[in-house]
């Protein structure tokens, strides 16, 4: 048995990580190809890959992927542009926090998916509606998390800045923001993951393109292979964006790892 908290080498880490994927795939193949699960409900891995290939080559699924990625990034960027400054203001100024925090805490629990019917009424079924779903789902979360991070800035760093002659504005710009920049980036990475679930919900209802639309279309055809392929594509894109975000954070904030 390994010891608690004992580190593992990089090689072991990769091997173990990959082996679970293999194990998962094997269990799936065994259940489906072995005939334990009806083909109507769950496609086997080979059918899934064939369906996926067909989707990509014949049915222009790449376009769907592109439009979904665009929606996620668009809604998420809009949310971040609004939420990060608000969160910083709330973390820095307690009166501002007292003013907004109760409402934001309430709004955060409003499920973004429940807004879909309402947003269709307001914005139709165009792109604006998709962006708004993601916006509503992300903006309050980012505000609150950024506000908490900024509010927890080490007091002694702030005090040190004041004794070095910083003004109040200087403290916000040159202590609160840089001190919390890595954490804010981490928050954005986390919320981007959640934004992916909102976009699919938005696309399941009232949409004519996107990964979510393809999944709901395939349901009508009982094409479980295509549906699973769509879900897996979402997972893979999530993994890639997570990786890119982490790499970006590492290069932006070398002092954290120094």
């Amino acid at each position: 048995m390994p010891r608690p908290l004992d580190p593992v080498s990089q090689g072991t880490r990769v091997t173990l990580g990959v082996s679970f994927f293999i194990l998962f795939l094997a269990a799936w193949a065994f259940a489906t190809l072995g005939g334990f699960v009806s083909r109507t409900f769950l496609a086997d891995p080979i059918t899934m890959v064939q369906d996926g290939w067909l989707l990509l080559t014949r049915f222009g699924f790449l376009g769907d992927i592109g439009i979904t990625v665009w929606r996620v990034v668009g809604g998420f960027v809009l949310a971040a542009l609004v939420a990060v400054p608000l969160g910083i203001m709330m973390g820095a100024y307690k009166s501002f926090e007292a003013f907004l925090e109760p409402f934001v805490s309430f709004a955060r629990y409003l499920p973004a998916s429940a807004f879909v019917p309402l947003l269709i009424l307001w914005a139709g079924i165009g792109e604006m509606q998709k962006l708004l779903v993601i916006f509503i789902g992300s903006v309050f979360q980012i505000i609150l998390m950024v506000a908490v991070a900024v509010g927890n800035t080490r007091r002694d760093l702030v005090e040190a800045a004041y004794t070095l002659g910083s003004s109040d504005q200087g403290v916000v710009k040159r202590v609160l923001i840089p001190a919390n920049a890595p954490e804010i980036a981490e928050i954005l990475r986390l919320v981007l993951g959640w934004a992916w679930t909102y976009v699919i919900v938005a696309e399941l209802i009232g949409s004519s393109s996107g990964i979510g639309h393809m999944i709901i279309d395939s349901q009508a055809l009982l094409a479980t292979g295509q549906m699973i392929f769509g879900i897996i594509v979402i997972g893979v894109i999530g993994l890639i964006s997570d990786f890119l975000f982490k790499a970006l954070n590492r290069s932006l904030f070398p002092w954290r790892l120094a």
Binding site: L157, A160, Y162, T163, G170, F253, W255
Partner: protein, 263 residues
């Protein structure tokens, strides 16, 4: 002796009681006059209000009564005229050593060329040449506190405030840091207010030791240290040093016993 630079006028501090408890009198009305170019150490057991007094001088805490005058002007808040070094490591982790030392100068709006010159001179004075582009995390505790001293001094404050700056360092490093700080003071003659609970440190550095008593905090003794400069670490074993140490140990011991409730 030159004129008074800092005047502490019956400054007191009462912390409001927590959850309806009785208010805590951290600092009784305290008077202290600090002469220009003096090196004063404030010595006392923990909880004697010595850090509170220093924070009030820094402007990071407000006195409940009384006032502090720096060059005749009342202190209303923190400012660049009073440099501070904290016990905790307060270098900005996102800035390199050189950028940390330049922080105050940048806040003043000093042009880059001039900044670099000052940074280079203080990097050299605290013995950190070659570490300019390192991040604080890459440095030992002693090096970080040296940088913090350089950062405070680069701002050219009228008085340097140090709140147990070497408290978290091991004994050997602490000894070296004391010599380094004293060496800088002997050359530049900045006015220094240095809070510590270490008796040896208090004597070795100071030209005047203020002993504070605990709960409520007040000044108990004001003892001049007439040991010659420049001071070398070997001084800590001289008879004069030892007798001062014995005297202060006795003063502090009574206070520590009272603070701990031992009689």
């Amino acid at each position: 002796m030159t004129g008074t630079i800092l005047q502490i006028d019956s400054v007191s501090r009462v912390f409001p009681g927590v959850r309806g408890g009785a208010p805590v009198r951290a600092l009784e009305p305290t008077n202290l006059q600090v002469a220009q170019n003096d090196f004063i150490t404030i010595l006392g057991p923990s909880g004697c209000g010595k850090s509170t007094l220093l924070r009030i001088v820094a402007g990071l805490d407000r006195p409940s009564g009384g006032r502090v005058l720096l060059n005749g002007r009342e202190i209303k808040g923190p400012g660049a005229d009073r440099g501070m070094v904290f016990q905790s490591y307060t270098l900005f982790p996102w800035l390199t050593i050189a950028e940390n030392i330049a922080y105050g100068l940048r806040e003043k709006g000093m042009p880059k060329a001039q900044r670099q010159e000052i940074v280079a001179s203080y990097t050299e004075k605290v013995g950190l040449l070659g570490f300019e582009n390192h991040y604080p995390k890459q440095l030992s505790g002693g090096m970080q506190q040296r940088t913090a001293i350089a950062r405070a001094l680069a701002n050219d404050p009228e008085i340097l405030l140090l709140d147990e700056p070497f408290g978290a360092l091991d004994n050997q490093t602490r000894g070296l840091m004391q010599e380094l700080l004293l060496g800088i003071w002997e050359r530049e003659r900045k006015t220094v207010l240095f809070v510590t609970h270490d008796i040896e440190e208090a004597i070795f550095l100071a030209s005047r030791v203020i002993v504070m008593s605990a709960r409520p905090g007040r000044i108990k003794a004001d003892i001049p240290v007439d040991l010659p400069h420049p001071r070398h670490y070997t001084m800590k074993t001289t008879p004069e040093f030892s007798s001062l140490k014995a005297q202060l140990t006795e003063e502090i011991r009574v206070e520590a016993m009272q603070a701990e409730g031992v009689h």
